[in-house]
Symmetry: C2
Subunit: 176 residues, 2 copies
């Protein structure tokens, strides 16, 4: 398999806050807080989840791998945002995400200048051996998955009014 | 079923050009032109498709319904962008989309001021009777589906490098 292009990862990671800002700033509350039903997440919840990732997941895990090699990560709490985001607005969350992401990308760029071994290994608590390169690819994929999720949640909000067109709108059948 | 909220539709439609701009402007060519394989579309192709929709689909169909009632639409060419986008850059396409969308939303707002009957009916060439409200819901859902598609195409570009994390990245299994 070809080697991951770190420049493309950076280009993707640095665009996510602006993409979410463009989609969500000033959006009516019925969309900001729309879900796909049940325990599924709203756009508001998703931004909170991305904030938690900036705080506790990507760069800390990268540092663990590069500092110690093969070290085990802490588990990532996928539900931390429900408490952390309480009382905030989506605009407040977007600003927090943008600030944290900018600091983390500055950190990542510094690491890259010093040189990152993309094959350095850490230990994931559930599936064992992972590499720095895989972590960077996962970070970018994770961002894009949640951008798609925000769009999908909103799409389902409107899709129930689309009548016979719903057949031509495959997003309404994606589960994420 | 509840009535569609036209304000939320407008809020969504007016955000799409900026969202795509944030994701795609200055992005490396390997991502702008990435596809999911076979005949699937790249982000570049998707913006061209949205441009074609602005020119020939949404507002023209709305005008047909409101002017004549129950009139039949022309078929929409889902592949027109392959010729129309040739030689253009993604930044050029994004600008064209933004300009066309702004003009169409100005037109839509004017129609709304005059008053749109959300139950007015037109005839779709494939599935028959459709209403103005369904067309507006479809327009917003269609935008969001293509934003999700752009994110998904990019995600799959990175996802093949994610190693064991791929299991935790459901976007890699969406088909659209």
């Amino acid at each position: 398999m070809s080697v991951i292009d770190v420049g493309a990862v950076l280009a993707t990671l640095e665009r996510t806050p602006a993409a979410l800002r463009a989609m969500l700033t000033g959006l009516p509350a019925e969309l900001v807080h729309a879900t796909e039903g049940g325990e599924s997440w709203s756009p508001f919840d998703i931004v909170g989840h991305l904030i938690h990732g900036e705080r506790t997941d990507w760069i800390p895990r990268l540092q663990i791998i590069l500092a110690e090699g093969r070290s085990e990560f802490e588990r990532f709490d996928r539900f931390a945002q429900f408490e952390a985001s309480q009382g905030n607005s989506v605009e407040g969350l977007l600003e927090e995400f943008e600030t944290l992401r900018a600091a983390n990308l500055a950190e990542l760029r510094e690491m890259l200048v010093e040189g990152i071994d993309l094959d350095a290994e850490g230990t994931h608590p559930e599936f064992g051996r992972v590499t720095t390169g895989e972590l960077l690819a996962t970070w970018a994929t994770h961002d894009l998955g949640h951008i798609a999720q925000v769009a999908r949640v909103m799409a389902k909000h409107f899709g129930k009014h689309a009548g016979p067109w719903a057949e031509y709108l495959p997003i309404l059948r994606d589960r994420g």
